[in-house]
Amino acid sequence: MNQEAASQKSVTSSSLHDHRPAERSPLMTWIGWVVSKLARGLSLLIGSSFIIYTVLRSAPGDMVDLILGLNGTPEMKADLRAEFGLDLSLVEGYLGWASRALTGDLGISITFMPGEPVLELAGPAFLVTLGIAIVSLFMSIAVAYGLAIFLGPPRPRQTLLLGPIQLLNAAPSFVVAICLAKLINELIQFQLAGGGQIPPSWYPIPTYQRLSDSIAPFVFAALSISLGDGLFTDLFNALRSELNNLSNSLFINAVRAKGASVRPHLVKNLIVPTLSIFTARLPLVLSAVVIVEYIFTLDGSGYLLLQAAKNRDVPVVVGVSLFFILAVIVMNLILDLVKALVDPREVAKGE
């Protein structure tokens, strides 16, 4: 729409003469662009963390009461509240937290792992979650591209193959994970009953494993994510139509017609759409990982979040949520940046 309108405008304003957007120092344009994006991201970060902080602070059920049980005197309770920083008002508490958070200090856990710095808890946990999310997304995108290339443009007969895939793929990812875990356990048990070899270290599922022990549970988690929630079919449909539209597009035909290689054009033009799909899907996949990693007992943020919320551990919950929000915001920034780098039209639009 916009492009058409712009082309018409430029045609009327200057026909033979070079047409360029209003002169601005490119560096300044870039700086302005980056600053506006960062400011926007930061304001979203502050806003959403405040919402989560408020929700948690106004939650019914007081951890101080739970800790001291029936033996706590009012003074003891007041002292403990002060130690936990729960004596401050909502706004005061948040401002204090936020100002420290800006310097990289996310506070310390008060009830779940008392005294542990939140950054050291939530950081590694979130890396696990993010890692699984990214791996499963990459995996799905790679397979989706492969299948799209293999199948070519949509054909009616393919519905017979894709229909059942679509149906199974619509299953919630954690249901897939439960089934997968059961299946693998049964298989290994069967194999053990037959041969009696040493089972892999991650057996039985779920057993507690860390990345240094074995990557198997991580792979399984990523696999369940890819196989569930319609992730694969959605990606496949989107990427396939993107790929087909592009490979049938006029300029690709023009490139072909002049005898040059199509590949660099295809790759370059697929970067932004692929990354957009990746970014759009990331929050959903992160949500799915929260549950799935629970099934494979990984030290991820799902576990941390649930336990911390149970213990009303305000700093930990807000810290973990912060990472989730940050991931999405940063991913969007990256997307914008890549768009701007790859696609000259972006910066010209002058965000």
């Binding site: 492009q3 300029f251 035909n253 023009a254 490139v255 017609a257 002049k258 005898g259 040059a260 790859v342």
Partner: protein
């Protein structure tokens, strides 16, 4: 009719079909035409007459199923004759009384067959110049790409080096009458006007040094003044390059200006083949449809006048 042996392009009995929800429909029905070296053949017709499809078949760029289903296309360049559809019957088979095509195999074969012909044998410029240029690459790079692709086929000792290629690309931009070729070289398509894009596209196409250039309504969507410039430019460059051209349009005036011969198409069939001179001649007998076209363009008055 020109002699088959000397023609650059020779199309015989071309059939193109597509599957639609309402069944199979024939878009191009046994169309034949040929183009001699240096000649400009105009194809005239309304939209949907199959004129674009016939020329796309020449480039092997038809998408959709089943596409080309019969006929012969011969392309001659550098004295060698390439028969594009000779293998086609091997990919056809019958199923439930209908002729079907092994799509995957055919595509593979077609791309393989076309790989050496694209660019040097035939190339094209399209209707929408803005969309025919890769939006993510500078115009200069795209012209350069044509030259590089062309040079890749030459023996190593005669190849132009990188620098010479860039210089040539810049020259091409000058030849298509860009006001500031250096600046255009580093510009992206979205920074240029429609007319400039089309001129850039002409540069891209002709930089391949093709035997035949297919110009598919290159002026549609451009301003009237810009149109004239593009048409003049094309005429000049074609003459300089001694390149044959298939010029597709529904604008009869452009046709008369550019073409040596004209074929008129409607509903996938060739209605009439005339030389431009004949067409200009108001008195000669015309097919009723051609007559309507001429009338609509105000070239001849109605019978009742």
């Amino acid at each position: 009719m020109s002699d088959h042996t000397t023609s650059v392009v020779d199309v015989r009995d071309l059939v193109i079909e597509f599957d639609t929800p309402r069944g199979r429909s024939r878009v191009v029905d046994e169309v034949s035409f040929s183009v001699s070296p240096g000649e400009v053949l105009g194809i005239l017709g309304e939209s949907g007459s199959g004129k674009t499809m016939s020329t796309q078949a020449l480039l092997g760029l038809i998408d959709g199923y089943p596409g080309v289903m019969g006929g012969q296309i011969d392309l001659t360049f550098q004295g060698e004759r390439h028969s594009l559809l000779s293998e086609l019957p091997h990919f056809l088979f019958e199923k439930r009384g209908q002729l079907e095509k092994q799509e995957r195999g055919w595509r593979k074969h077609r791309f393989k067959a076309m790989a050496s012909l694209w660019g040097r044998g035939a190339t094209a410029i399209f209707q929408n110049p803005r969309r025919s240029l890769d939006p993510l690459m500078t115009v200069g790079q795209q012209v350069l790409e044509s030259i590089t692709a062309r040079e890749a086929h030459k023996p190593d000792d005669t190849k132009l080096n990188k620098e010479a290629q860039s210089i040539e690309a810049l020259e091409w931009l000058e030849r298509v009458k860009m006001v500031n070729p250096k600046r255009v070289f580093g510009s992206y398509p979205h920074e240029l006007s429609g007319g400039m894009c089309q001129r850039a596209m002409i540069a891209v196409a002709l930089a391949c040094k093709p035997s035949v250039l297919i110009a598919d309504e290159p002026t549609t969507g451009l301003d009237a003044t810009v149109r004239a410039q593009v048409v003049h430019l094309l005429q000049d460059l074609i003459r300089d390059e001694r390149c044959a051209m298939l010029y597709i349009t529904h604008d009869i005036r452009e046709m008369l200006y550019l073409a040596d011969r004209v074929i008129v198409m409607r509903h996938g069939k060739v209605l009439e083949r005339v030389s431009t001179e004949d067409l200009k001649d108001r008195s000669s007998e015309r097919h009723p449809y051609t007559r309507t076209l001429l009338e609509a363009a105000g070239m001849i008055g109605g019978d009742n006048e």
